[in-house]
Symmetry: C2
Subunit: 212 residues, 2 copies
DNA sequence: GTCTATACCGTGATAGAC
DNA sequence: GTCTATCACGGTATAGAC
């Protein structure tokens, strides 16, 4: 690769000069996920990770078995967060349309609140075992949401004639796309995320058109 | 990488046995884009491309200067197709809301009709010069669509209070997500694409909710 | 337009001292 | 928990014959 870094990935830029940072699996993971999200998983070398973490390549192997374990840890975390939403009361009780709306809203918030891991998950392509496992679980999630959409159409709250599978795909295509541009805005980020979720939910359920 | 191929990428599987396929830049490009889209650009080696094309690595350099040129050719093609939409009469004449709807619909069709190149474009991360140039042009496209959304709100056809930039991002997040699951269905694909574009446009402008 | 052969470097990973 | 040193391998790319 002829790569010139997009924006000089030095997550631990501050400590870059010092070297010899002390790391746990946790701190290493958060550094790695940042770099993966800038460079892409395949585009990231152990050397890149080492530089960003402020240690040497070899030191990384003291914490994890290799690059793929870092990926697995990250996407597992993302998926656990998403599946947890489906077990919340708001996703299990009431009319299907309301449950669907709840899941859409909560998924937005979860994506924003867990942005690095979810972003990485959404970019996984299936080249390694860890990636394929993640894709399987994602498919699972999609199916459960499509079932929710189907129920909402049956109950008459969503327009008849909608294709539930397609509808679920389009909704979550929109939700997931947030990861491509959203950057947390420091304080007020929570309110910001709520407004984003509101805007998206309104668009999906009521559309853009003015009915005045 | 511990990679086991996801689905044995042999675009030219038929000719795999024979070897010594004859290639032009064009035929090589179409093979390369297929492989890039399965393996990811960074995850694809020249060896992968050579196998899929049925020639050796060295032969590829007879046609192009290297991997990055194949990427540049592909994303340029994708971007040219998208920008051409903005110059069509339907995108330039009439009320802004109608022009926006036209662009959304046409973008869906263009994405489906030019799927491999557009898919690759949407996955580009900015690691190389070719990728950064592509990202710049994408941003340009987004701005022009956001301006269209702003005009449509001003004219009163879209709900007041919408954020034009956010609206444009969400719409095209949904449109672009089609590339993650859509696979052309042989004959009838044109009708299929039209229905997909209709469904998406209806969702965006009128929402899912049943108003009966 | 393809091939074989090869240069050269970056890669993921390991061994073992401190 | 970090380091230096080292390894085998696979990566892009080139030279030159057919």
């Amino acid at each position: 690769m002829v790569s010139t870094p997009p924006a000089a990935v030095s997550a631990a830029a501050a400590s870059a000069a010092g070297r010899r940072d002390s790391h746990s699996v946790e701190s290493l993971l958060s550094v790695a996920v940042e770099v993966f999200n800038v460079r892409g998983y395949d585009g990231t070398s152990m050397e890149d990770l080492a530089k960003a973490a402020g240690i040497t390549k070899s030191s990384i192997y003291h914490h994890v078995s290799g690059k793929e374990e870092l990926l697995r840890l990250s996407v597992t975390r993302a998926l656990d967060g998403l599946f947890a939403i489906l077990d919340e009361p708001g996703a299990r009780e009431g009319r299907a349309a309301d449950r669907l709306e709840y899941v859409v809203r909560r998924t937005c918030l979860e994506l924003v609140g867990n942005l690095p891991h979810v972003t990485l998950l959404l970019r996984v392509r299936g080249n390694t075992a860890a990636e394929r496992d993640a894709l399987d679980r994602r498919r699972d999630f999609d199916h459960r949401v499509a079932a929710l959409a189907a129920a909402a159409i049956d109950e008459g709250d969503l327009r008849a004639g909608l294709d539930p599978r397609l509808t679920a795909r389009l909704i979550f295509g929109m939700v997931n796309s947030i990861s491509e541009w959203y950057r947390p805005g420091g304080r007020g980020a929570e309110k910001e995320a709520g407004e984003l979720a509101d805007a998206l939910t309104a668009l999906v359920f009521d559309g853009l058109r003015n009915r005045a």
